[in-house]
Each structure stands twice: as C-alpha cells, then as structure tokens.
C-alpha cells in the first residue's frame, strides 16, 4: 500500500525538556520521524519546547515551533498551521497526553486534524489502566489481579482484595511517576493519594505484586495491513519491582526457552492487535514466573519509547523511522531495511552479540533522598554496551557508566549481603564483590531473585578478572577471553546472513586471526568523542554538539567517525556519521578505535570539545599516544582547568576574579579561609557539574562541610549519599562567594590566529550562586548596559587569546553590585548553552566551531555583525528555563545552589522579556498563576526588594500571605499582607496552607543554614503540589513581570524559528 496522498501537512509533537523517564531518546526518534516525513514530501510542523534537540534544528522540519507543550499552545499552532494530521506517537508520554487532550476538547475535530499512528481509542485502551485490563481479559491474556482506585474511598477495598505487598500504578504517567510498592499498611493511603495526584485522570491501579518474577519487554511493530514483527526482546536482570528504566537489561532475552519466548511473542502480538495500535511501534512488558511458565502482561506503551530506542540501537532496526513511514500508509514489506538494503523491514532482526544496558543514577546529587530503586524511575541516563558475549557486554557496560568514584562495599559480609537484598543504584557492584568473596550463586540468588544464569556468568567474569576490578580496568573484558585481539565487528540486523552496508561497529575480543570488519575509503577520518551516558551536568546539549560536528566533518570532505555509548541519542544513530563505534569512552577503547581508523587511510585527529567533560578527560592520554587533538590543544585545556595557572593568567590580563585559595588538607582550609573572606564557596578539586559545592558563611560552617564530605574523618564510613573519595591528591578550593551578583554566561568562537567572535551573552535570572546549569537565562541580556557588555566582550576575547582556544569557549562572569565584573571560570569546550544560543541567534555554533577546528578562520565563516547577540536583532528575546527532578527524590531538599541538579531545559521565545519568561515557565511545567494567593518569605537583606514584587502582585489582585517578619516589612511599605505561622509556630502554618491548596505561588529566598532548614518543608510541599516555587529574588521579579503580562489577558502568540530567522535577516 503506497503512502497516503490525502494528507500533506503533518504536525509532530516532541517530548519537551529532558526529565527522568523521558530523555534524549525522543529527540532520536522524533528526528528520524521528521526526516523521513520530509523525505516523503510532506510538510512537517514540529512543536517542541526543548532547544537542545536536533529535531528543532530549523532544517529538520518545514516549520519549527519552540513553544510550551501545552494543549492550548499546540492548539494555537494548529489554528495557525492547519495541519491535516497529527502524529503523536514519537514524542513520548508528553505528546500522547497533549494529543489526547486536543482530541477531548474538540480541537482536532474542529480543525479536521486526523490522529495518525495511534488513534484516540488505542491510546486510551493502552494508557487507561482499567481499560487496558479489560482489553487484555477480552483477548484472553492474564494481568495481575487488581482493582481500580479513583479516590481514597477505594483504599479499603484494595487492602481487602489485593493485600500487601501491593503495587500502585497511576494511569497516563511516565517513568512510573506516582507509583510504588506498598509494604506496610500505614503507607497505603498516602501512596494511593500520591498516585491519584500524579495521574492526569486521577486513576490508579492497586495491583497484586509479582515482585521477583522475571521482567521482559518486547518491541512490536505493526502496519495497517496487520503485519506484525517483533524487533527485539529485552530481559531485565533486575526482577519485577525495579522500573525497567532503572534495571540492568540485556538484549536479546537469555533465559527463556524457545517455547517460552514464542509464548511471549504470541501474546505481544495479541496485545498490539487488541489495543488496536494501527501502525508503528509499541512496547509490551511481561512478567514471567521463575518457577513455572506463567506469564502476565504488565503494560503496553502505544508509542516509541526508551526501550524502542534501545532496541533500535541494539539491533540496527530503526523503529522510529519505520514507524513514521507506517503512519503515512506504507506497509512493512514496502520499506527497505537500511542496513542490508536487500531485505524489507518486515523481518525480525537476528543478532549475534549481546547488548547490556546500564542505568546511570544521580543519587549523590540529592542527599537525603530515599536511595532505593522501586517502580518509579530514578535514573537520569543510560549506557549501552555491545559485546560478542554477555560477559564482554556486561563488563563494557560497567565501564561505560563513567562513575566519578566506584562504590565501596562494606567489609562485613552480612552487611554486604543485606545491601544486595535491596535494589539500589550500586547493587550490582556489591553483588560482584559478594561473588568475588566467594559467596555462592545460590546465596546471591536467594537474596536478589536475579536469574541464576546471570549470576553464573557474573561469577565467571569475576573469577576471570582476578584481582582487577571489572568496573575500572579492561581486565574483565579481556581476561578469561583469549590470546587474540581486539577487533571490530558490525551490527547488521541479520547475524551476517547478508552483506551489510551500514558501518555500525563494536569491539570484541576474538581468537586470532581477529579480522576487523571495518571498511573505509581513503578520505581522512575525524574521530568525534561523544559524551557517554546522560547525567546531571552532562546531557543532551553535548550530544547535540557532537551531531553537528559529525554533520560538519562530512560536509568538509572527511569521514566522520563517532564514538559513544549512549543508546538514547542522535549521535549513535548509524545515519549520523560515516562510521559509528558503539564503545565505552575509556582511553583504551578510544585508542583502539583510533588505531583502527589510522589503518589504511589517514586519521586527521580527534575532536574532544563537544562531548562535555568526558572527552576532555581523555585528551591528555590520547595526545600522549600521538593522536592529534583537533582545535584547542591540551595545554590550553590544562591552562583553563588548572586553578593556579588560570588565576595567574587572569592576573596577567588584569581581570578580576573572586579571591581564592587552594588547600591540601582540612587544617589548611580552615587556616586559609579567613584570608579569602566569607561567605565562601567550597568545593573539592575533582568536582564536576558543581558536585559537592557549597556556600558556607563561617568557620563553623566550613568545619561542618569538611566533615560531611569526608575531608575530616568523623566516622570511618562516609554517610550515605556522600562521595567516597580517594584520600590522596585531594584539594579543597575556597572561593570568595560573590553575593547578590548577576551571573553571565558567554559563548564564543575562537580561531588559531586569535580571531574571536562572541556568539551570545546570556544574563542569568537567578543570581550567582545558583549553578549556571540550573538558572534561567535571557538572551540578549535584559538589564546590562552597553558599557558592561563591552567589558564582557573585551575580557572574553582576552581570555580566548591568552588561552589559545581554537573552537568554542564558554566564560562565566559574576557582576557584583559594587565590585563589578569577575571571571568565575572558562571552559575551553562547547558549553551546555550552545544549542540555546544557536537557536536564539539562528547560527549553528557547534558547526562553525567544527569548521574552525578543521582549519578555517573566524573571518572566513561569513558571520553577521560583531557578535551574535546583536545579530539576533531587536526582534525577539529568548529565555532558557530548567526543569528539576525533585519530584522523583522524596526527601531531598529542593533548594537550588551551586551544585547542578536540573535534568533538562526549555526555551521561551517572544517579542519581549516577560512574555518569553512566562512561556519558558509554562514550558517547564510551572504555570504562573494570574490570580490567587502568593506566599512570600524572604531573607532580611531581600525585604526591600521584595516590596517591588509584592506591589506588582498586589496591584494585580493577588492576596499576599507572608511569615511574620516579611509581613511586617511589607506592611511598613504599605502593602497589605496577612501574617501566617512558620512551621515551628504551630498550626495552621504555611505548610498546612500549601497542602490545602490555598497558595498559588511561593516566593522564598533563604539565606544561611538555619533558613534553609526551615524553608525545606515549604519548598517540599510546594513541589509536591506542583506550585511554582521561586527561590531567588531575581526570579521573583521576572515572575511578577510575566504575571502582569499574562494578567492583561494577552495570549502570547506562537512564533516559528523559520519566521524568526527571516525577520532577523530583514533586520540586519
């Protein structure tokens, strides 16, 4: 059946900001879908609020809206664009939920927009837990016993009919949000309440537990003539009870017999037919009883998912691409398999290797958070490894995690065995240690319910690695394998049955003659190092840059070679580069790739600037091995990263930096602190993404910090959630903390002749002290004078030249109210803001930087104007806002600080700052209220400034409630404010009010440790009820202005990037 000609314009919805449970995989799938639909000649209209995506590059779709993913906004786009169809299955749960809302409110019907891929009924049958259960029953399939709860009145019945432990599963949520396992009677009601709250339709399933059963997933595709194929099976090593996103997984499944596997396959096919997903990919999850053949269906996701991205990368079968073609009418057999070219897509990949996926966690960022793993997802990223055997793949995956420090197991065996009995981020590390100490497979199985097959393999792996840690040295991969060598094999979807044309490789240890399968022509190759698993501080932004680098390298006549191990990303799409090596980013793996690439034709060099800190860390080792580093040299990298050297450089240039000192011990730190001056920003030297950074206000505060971070041994073991650091070579950095300063981020391009072009100057909304990755920022700066901007340009240029940067440079400044401009740090690499700036100014910074690294000069790049901010013109303002994962980490303080904790970002674009800010807030999921009650509590120093905010809000008709001190201050300024009890002052207090839903906006600026502890409960309550909670004064001011604009009833217009850039061209 050929493609449909009755539709011309297709609307695609992306998944928005990266959040736990919904990450880069939807950029991968969405980008594939856009490209395919464009290739097929359709007009594609895309809406996504996340600028750090390849899919929002202006050439990927016909029309691109970086706008909030809210039904009302998407409805505006529909009104404007009048698309014929909406494809909702490629943007995760977000797109599905928006599409559902637009169907229900009649928008789709009114504008004649057809849902393609999955229709409303199918979405509802799959996502509504009640309907799903019924649908399964009708298809003759088993699900665990359950009842549906739509209110707390159902709790008793649940307790009676289901019993404990019980699984709580909200409908229409993602990553298990709001779900959990109830073990104790007392937890039942609160957990059901939380689930009801999380479900957009207020529905949860109270379900019989099948904890400990095996968890399996099948990726299914169906076309409109009812052909069905199973792309891949995935087995979770962690049994039921740990969310699949948090589980270590292997593909294909390992422990089922053919008969058992075929039974799952038959059921998966029945599920997709019963739910009625007409075309595209779905994911079906099963639990299998380890003691019998009993199978129950857990759920089906009627859309592409994290697992389908994993399955695509694991098999070479591009699920999203094919799903998009199926949605416009093709059948599976009409679509060729990209990899073999010779065969159609209507087949099931046969693979001849093992794939292991490992989640990447960030618990160390959320001290106080409940550390266990359960049915709602907590991991922030994942790494995938391919090996010829399970052991090879597992050992590679272990190393792909790029942990800053490896978990330390307790010496006591009982404590160790207790640890592995509870699912946790470090469980497998402890489990390997238990096996290493000689605990039997039976013992470990009894504690973990992990299938003995895996445990046997792991025991052998541990044994063969001997004294080496599998997690940190290549020993585990190689030892116990054989003399022979490391060679490269290809991923070909067919286990070598047909010749493959797509160059997608992985390394494997094989017996001699270990002949490599890599084929290459004679163009020189450029190796681009990716950024590994997503983690807080290093996310999709870097992958975006790597993809741009690959595109540029190809355009410039070289072979682009990508090395990365993150299955979620566009960079690991085999289409992105000329050759993809799916490998851990460790020195020996990268060197092996370089050696392979240097064989036969020249290796021009390696690009380390785009993958965040990961490749930078490898630069010295690569260079020592004689591999050319393209762009900024390793000495310049060291110059920027070494505090002492960089400080001296700034001195020489005459630029101000906060006073600082370096201490080699706790005593030294305490001695030097007064000289630097309080408040102090303290951090250990190995810091990444602001890890373990804190502001201290006194010597006592410093002593406390040093104790908590293990610099002063308080007890032998560091407390949970803290880092176990190596004792040697530790330094402590002390910086004077610049209070009440405006932070500014600059991205610049620099060439080998000292040519510099300032691409963007971003002013942060929050003041310095909130990690740049966690603060909102505005481009162009909304309140800096031309003189200050010029000073920033001059200093950025000076630093670029002095460092000798070739490529991208990011500089962070703080502008102190009296002491003026200070340099905080310089990163000689692509920064997190590159995609945002690129989208704002309409120029692809990473691509331009890549051209510079390949030899061009700034002057040759045809750049408009003296800098990007001016090139952007006066036409529009862009605001970046972040999203924070506190709702996943019950117990952790939601206060922002110098340690980065956000997972993703969104962009708001408008003609003026308040509107752009309001859009960014809305896109980040914080809808600013236009009326109601605001709760205000600010530190003494902030009270005057808070008056301005309060006035604005009062004039708009808000009721203001405040803690006593703030209320008094406001009254003195003539603003009526009702005083309310603090927590300690007895009920009814502020948290009661928030919990009763009487507060619509919280503005709470804490200072010092005392206020932090007090504000904790307030912020926690606000987050739990999803009430916007603003913790800085600057944020409060911006919010008040944005509310004022919204209150005027102006519906912010939607603007496409393409219009924006045309406008800009006209302005300049």
């Amino acid at each position: 059946m050929p493609k449909r000609t009755d539709i011309h314009k297709i609307l695609l919805i992306g998944s928005g900001p990266i959040v736990i449970g919904q990450a880069a995989e939807f950029d991968y799938s969405g980008t594939q879908a856009c490209r395919v639909l464009m290739e097929e000649g359709y007009e594609v209209v895309l809406v996504n609020s996340n600028p750090a995506t390849i899919m929002t590059d202006p050439e990927v779709a016909t029309t691109t809206y970086i706008e909030p993913l809210l039904p009302a906004t998407v409805a505006q786009v529909i009104e404007r664009e009048q698309p014929d169809a909406l494809l909702p299955t490629l943007g995760g749960q977000t797109a599905l939920n928006v599409a559902k809302a637009l169907h229900e409110d009649g928008t789709l019907h009114r504008h004649g927009v057809e849902l393609i891929g999955a229709d409303y009924e199918a979405i509802d049958r799959a996502e509504d837990r009640d309907r799903f259960r019924e649908t399964m029953a009708r298809a003759g399939l088993r699900t665990p016993r359950s009842i549906i709860a739509t209110s707390l009145l159902d709790v008793d019945r649940g307790a009676r009919e289901i019993g404990l432990p019980m699984i709580i599963r909200p409908a229409f949520t993602l990553g298990g949000t709001g779900g959990g396992v109830v073990h104790r009677e007392a937890d039942l009601e609160p957990m059901v309440a939380r689930g009801l709250e999380a479900s957009p339709i207020g529905q949860v399933l109270l379900e019989e537990s099948v904890l400990g059963w095996g968890e399996f997933e099948l990726e299914v595709m169906r076309d409109r003539t009812d052909n069905v194929v199973i792309v891949c099976s995935i087995e979770n090593l962690d049994p039921m009870g740990v969310h699949t996103g948090d589980s270590v997984c292997v593909a294909p499944q390992q422990t089922l017999t053919d008969k058992q596997y075929q039974a799952l396959r038959d059921q998966a096919i029945k599920v997709i037919r019963a739910v009625g997903v007409e075309t595209g990919g779905s994911n079906v999850q099963f639990a299998v009883n380890p003691r019998s053949d009993e199978i129950v269906v857990i759920e089906m996701n009627p859309r592409v998912s994290r697992s389908s991205a994993l399955a695509s990368k694991a098999t070479g079968f591009p699920i999203a691409k094919i799903a998009a073609r199926l949605a416009v009418g093709y059948t599976l057999q009409e679509i060729p398999n990209d990899i073999t070219r010779a065969t159609p897509a209507s087949f099931e990949p046969a693979i001849d290797y093992c794939v292991v996926k490992w989640p990447r966690f960030a618990f160390e960022k959320f001290p106080g958070a409940e550390p266990g793993l359960t049915t709602h997802m907590k991991s922030v990223g994942e790494a995938m490894a391919i090996g010829r055997t399970f052991k090879q793949a597992f050992a590679k995956a272990l190393r792909s995690r790029e942990l800053d420090s490896l978990p330390v197991s307790p010496d006591d065996d009982d404590a160790l065995l207790d640890l592995i009995a509870r699912p946790g981020a470090e469980r497998f590390d402890h489990l390997l240690e238990a096996l290493r100490r000689g605990h039997s497979v039976a013992t470990v199985h009894q504690r973990t319910s992990i299938h003995p097959w895996f445990l046997h393999e792991l025991a052998e792996l541990v044994e063969s690695a001997g004294a080496d840690s599998i997690a940190s040295s290549p020993g585990g991969e190689r030892r116990g394998e054989f003399a022979g060598g490391l060679t490269f094999k290809s991923v070909d979807t067919c286990a070598a049955e047909f010749a493959a044309t797509t160059p997608y490789y992985y390394s494997s240890w094989e017996r001699a003659p270990a002949v490599s399968e890599v084929v290459r022509g004679d163009r020189p190759s450029v190796v681009i190092l990716g950024s590994g698993p997503n983690r807080i501080g290093q996310g999709i932004e870097f992958d975006y840059c790597c993809v741009h680098a690959a595109q540029t390298v190809r355009e410039q006549g070289r072979d682009a070679v990508m090395v990365n191990c993150n299955p979620e990303t566009v960079s690991t799409d085999y289409d992105t580069s000329d050759r993809l090596y799916f490998e851990p980013l460790t020195l020996e793996h990268v060197l092996a790739v370089c050696e392979q690439e240097a064989a036969g034709a020249p290796l021009e060099g390696v690009i380390v600037q785009f993958g965040g800190q990961t490749p930078l860390r490898l630069a010295a080792g690569l260079s020592a091995a004689g591999i050319p580093i393209l762009g900024t040299g390793i000495d310049a990298i060291d110059l920027a990263e070494d505090r002492g050297r960089f400080g001296a450089l700034l001195d020489r240039l005459g630029y101000q930096a906060p006073p600082y000192a370096t201490a080699g011990s706790a005593e030294e730190a305490l001695g030097k602190a007064p000289g630097v001056g309080f408040p102090l920003l303290v951090r250990p030297s190995y810091v990444l993404g602001g890890r373990a950074m804190e502001i201290v206000y006194s010597l006592d505060g410093l002593r406390d910090y040093l104790q908590r971070t293990g610099h002063i041994a308080a007890s032998r073991r560091s407390p949970p959630g803290e880092l176990a650091m190596p004792a040697e070579g530790r330094h402590i950095f002390l910086d004077r903390f610049l209070e009440a300063s405006i932070e500014v981020d600059v991205d610049a391009l620099c060439d080998a002749d000292g040519g510099v072009w300032i691409a963007g100057i971003m002013q942060h909304v929050e003041e310095a002290g909130i990690h740049s990755g966690d603060s909102a920022c505005v481009l162009p700066p909304h309140s800096l004078g031309e003189e200050m901007l010029e000073q920033i340009r001059v200093q950025t240029t000076g630093i670029a030249k002095a460092l000798g940067v070739v490529g991208l440079l990011n500089v962070q400044f703080a502008i102190h109210s009296t002491a003026g401009l200070h340099v905080i740090e310089a990163n000689p690499r692509a920064s997190r803001t590159v995609p945002f700036v690129s989208k704002a100014i309409g120029l692809p910074l990473a691509k331009l930087a890549c051209r510079i690294m390949l030899g061009e000069r700034v002057g040759e790049l045809d750049l408009p104007g003296p800098d990007g901010t001016r090139a952007q013109g006066a036409g529009h303002v862009c605001v970046k806002e972040v999203v924070l994962p506190f709702d996943r980490f019950a117990g952790a303080d939601s206060l922002l600080g110098p340690e980065m904790r956000s997972t993703g970002e969104v962009m708001g674009i408008a003609r003026d700052f308040p509107t752009a800010f309001a859009k960014a807030q809305a896109a980040a999921g914080l809808r600013l209220p236009t009326s109601g009650t605001v709760f205000l509590t600010v530190a003494d120093g902030d009270k005057t400034a808070a008056g301005g905010i309060a006035t604005t809000l009062h004039d708009l008709g808000f009721e203001i409630i405040a803690t006593r001190g703030t209320a008094q201050a406001l009254s003195r300024m003539g603003i009526p404010a009702r005083a309310i009890n603090k927590l300690g002052e007895g009920s009814p207090h502020v948290v009661d009010c928030i919990e009763r839903g009487e507060v619509d906006l919280v503005i709470n600026t804490p200072v010092g440790t005392g206020a932090r502890a007090d504000g904790y409960e307030i912020r926690a309550a606000a987050i739990a009820r999803r009430i916007p909670c603003i913790t800085t004064l600057a944020g409060g001011v911006a919010a008040a202005r944005a509310i004022a604009v919204a209150a005027r009833g102006a519906r912010p217009e939607v603007i496409s990037l393409q219009e924006l850039y045309t406008d800009r061209a006209e302005v300049s």
């Binding site: 095996g214 003539t225 052909n227 194929v229 199973i230 294909p252 499944q253 390992q254 422990t255 089922l256 017999t257 053919d258 008969k259 058992q260 596997y261 075929q262 038959d266 029945k270 037919r273 380890p290 003691r291 053949d293 599976l332 057999q333 010779a342 065969t343 209507s346 087949f347 099931e348 046969a350 693979i351 001849d352 290797y353 093992c354 010829r388 055997t389 399970f390 052991k391 299938h451 003995p452 097959w453 046997h456 393999e457 052998e460 063969s464 030892r479 116990g480 394998e481 054989f482 067919c494 286990a495 070598a496 049955e497 047909f498 094989e510 017996r511 001699a512 270990a514 002949v515 399968e517």
Partner: protein, 405 residues
C-alpha cells in the same frame, strides 16, 4: 581460570581454520558446515533430522543458557554432527524456569556429539556466506590438520546425498489424535524422511491420526491404511537423490491430497516435474519473512533448508508478488508463498489436483508461530471430504490453538 589455548578447531574444505575450545564429545566430526541464525531453540535444532550430515554453527553466541529438556526434543536423538559456538555453556544446575533436565554441554558429551566453543563464529559465518556452505569438520587439536583434511575429503558432498534413508524409521507407526476436533479426524499417511515431532504433534492436536511410514514405503503400503491424505515430511539431504520417493509420490498425486513441508515440498515438486537446486548457504533461522500471496500477509518463518525449487522458466528467484504459475505434469501449479529476503519459492499449490506445499516450517520449533494456521487449513481441507483443492482458502490468521487473535 588458566590457559585458554585452543583445544579444538574447525577446518573447512578450502583450508580455512578457526580455533576454539572443545566442549562436547572428544572426537572429530565431519560433514557440511551450515549456520543457523535462530537466537533460541538450540536443542530443537540439533535434534531436527533435517540437520543429519551437517555441523551447525550457531550465530547467536550464548548457547546452552537454559539447559536441555525432553519437551524440546524434535526426534529421539541428536542428528547434527557437531555444534559450533561462540559461548556455549553448561547450566544444568541453573535452577531456572520450566523443566530443565540437564546441562547442554554435558548432554552433547553424553550423546557423543563433538562441540566447540569460544570460536569466532561470526568470522566463520561470513566466510560461509561468501564462499558457500562447504564440507568441514570439528577436530581436537591433537589431530593434525593433514589428517583432518583427509577426513573432510572422505566425506561425500551434500549434493546428491540420500540422507533420508539414514534417518527414516524401520517400521510403520500409527499415532492417534491428541485432541478431538469433531467426530472423525482425518487419517494421514506420512512418508517419514526425517520428520520433526512438532509436525506430527500439530496434526495430532488437530484431531488427525498420523501413520508414519519408512521413506522406502511404496504407494501400495501408503494406501493400505486408507488414508485421507498423504503428508510429505521434512528431512535431510538432496531431494534429487530421492528418486525412489519421488516415484512413489508420482503414483499418489491426483489420487489423494498431498501436502509437503520442506524436503517434502521439494519432493512433491520433483514428482510433478519441477526442478530443485542447491542454495549457496541455505536458509537456517527463525526470521525470514514469507508472504502469503492469498492474504498479502507476511509471516515470520522458521527455515531450515539447503535446496530450493526453481520458479517458472527455471528462474531461481521470482520478482513479482503474484501467484505466478508453472506448467507441471499434473496441470498448473501456482505460487502461494514467496520469501521476501531472497525471493525464492516458499510454497505452491497444485491447481488441478489436490496438493500444496511449503518450503518453510509452519510447525516452528524453534521459531515464531505465525504459520501454524497452515495446519488448520490443511486439516480442514482434508476433513471436508471431496475437497478438490487445499491450501488456497484464505482463512485469515489464527493461531494453532484455534484461538482468534
């Protein structure tokens, strides 16, 4: 873990050698080296009589994960001559799901079947894919290469080999239905050229009584039990070497409905005057898409054959998705199924006499169940007396359990 030095090797007739570790019976094995891409079902594979005379290379590296069990037996013994693996394991003690009865490697050893692991199977498979299936063997390292070469030379080539005679039964056996479907299930006479248990099982579970005959049985013997239809089984070797069976079938075509699977398909085709040829490296796996031309639906099929039937006009492949026709000695034959991987013939039906065949394995075991509907079609067609045509009625898709999807 001490030395991982090679203790066994695979040698091919063209001199290519791959090293590994001996892990089965400590002997040499020679025959035709083939590969299967199925990711599970290793026990079903080695006990499938169609693999007689062949050494199986498993492209999936992890083999043996769930041990062995009686229910996975496709015949009463191992027919493959050896197993060649990348990571074969013996996990008989892995208290897993279902009914594990022993470890895989231990079982191979007990059955006297050589096996080799830790071998770069992908390199071996790529070699076979490019050079074609060939003779070769698995040898312990103590056996010199020169001696190994002699053993390989002494092994006859697959083309022209009658292996069915080696795997067939000696005496007739009648097996009743395992489930009742209506009153009298059909009676089916099967020429056992090496039939898989699951084929017989699928017929019996649909109410059929199955008479299994040695492959040397003549037409009279086959008709003696008054069967409603003749079934031609799968089996090993070259169909061209089985003229005695072909002659028998020729006498039956037109008298009774004749149905065939795999080798049986090739034999029926030869019996009506069509020709077969040897594929470069055969089809062995569980993922080939086959299109049913009557419904337009693609089935994911289980495959295990080294020979195929030539299309009309002697073409090896058919470029259109249409029911093209052959002229046979018994009137027209029409293509019903085509392989979407390499566009070879996967099934046909005789238009003027009752008869239909498929090249692939609807009984799966191992592999997907997409094609079990063919057994329904067949048994229904045979049952409805006077049916003049089988295999052609589009029934939609339904699973073998008769449940609707």
């Amino acid at each position: 873990m001490s030395s991982r030095d090679a203790t066994a090797y695979v040698l091919l007739e063209d001199g290519t050698r791959f090293d590994g570790l001996a892990c089965g019976a400590d002997e040499a094995a020679v025959g035709e080296i083939v590969f299967t891409t199925s990711m599970a079902g290793y026990q079903e594979a080695v006990t499938d009589p169609s693999y007689a005379g062949q050494l199986i290379t498993f492209t999936y590296p992890q083999i043996g994960n769930y041990g062995v069990s009686e229910e996975a037996m496709e015949s009463d013994r191992i027919h493959a001559r050896a197993a060649i693996m990348r990571a074969g394991v013996d996990r008989g003690d892995a208290a897993g799901r279902g009914s594990i009865e022993g470890g895989w490697l231990a079982w191979l050893r007990d059955c006297g079947v050589p096996a080799i692991t830790d071998l770069d199977t992908r390199a071996l498979v790529r070699h076979i894919r490019d050079a074609g299936a060939m003779r070769g063997g698995v040898f312990p390292v103590r056996l010199a290469e020169a001696r190994a070469r002699e053993l390989i030379e002494a092994e006859p080539a697959m083309g022209g080999r009658d292996l069915a005679r080696e795997v067939t039964r000696t005496a007739r056996l009648t097996l009743g239905p395992t489930a009742r479907h209506g009153n009298d299930g059909p009676r089916i006479a099967m020429i056992d050229t090496g039939v898989k248990r699951s084929i017989v099982g699928n017929l019996r579970s649909r109410g059929a009584t199955v008479e299994l005959h040695p492959c040397t049985a003549g037409a009279a013997e086959l008709l003696a039990g008054d069967p409603d239809a003749i079934f031609l089984a799968n089996g090993p070797g070259d169909p061209a070497a089985l003229d005695y069976v072909v002659d028998t079938i020729r006498q039956l075509v037109g008298r009774l409905p004749v149905y065939g699977i795999c080798l049986g398909h090739q034999l029926l085709c030869r019996a009506v005057g069509l020709d077969t040829y040897k594929l470069p490296f055969g089809h062995h796996g569980s993922n080939h898409p086959v299109k049913d031309l009557s419904t337009g639906i693609t089935e994911i099929t289980s495959q295990n054959h080294g020979f195929a039937v030539l299309g009309p006009g002697g073409a090896r492949t058919i470029d259109v998705d249409e029911p093209v026709r052959w002229e046979t000695d018994f009137g027209a034959a029409e293509l019903t199924h085509i392989n979407l991987y390499d566009r070879t013939v996967e099934g046909l039906t005789l238009r003027e006499v009752p008869g239909a065949t498929v090249q692939y394995h609807p009984e799966a075991s191992p592999g997907p169940h997409d094609s079990l509907y063919l057994f329904d079609r067949f048994v229904d067609a045979v049952r409805s007396a006077g049916a003049d045509r089988i295999g052609g009625s589009p029934r939609g898709r339904s699973s073998g359990n008769g449940e609707d999807n």
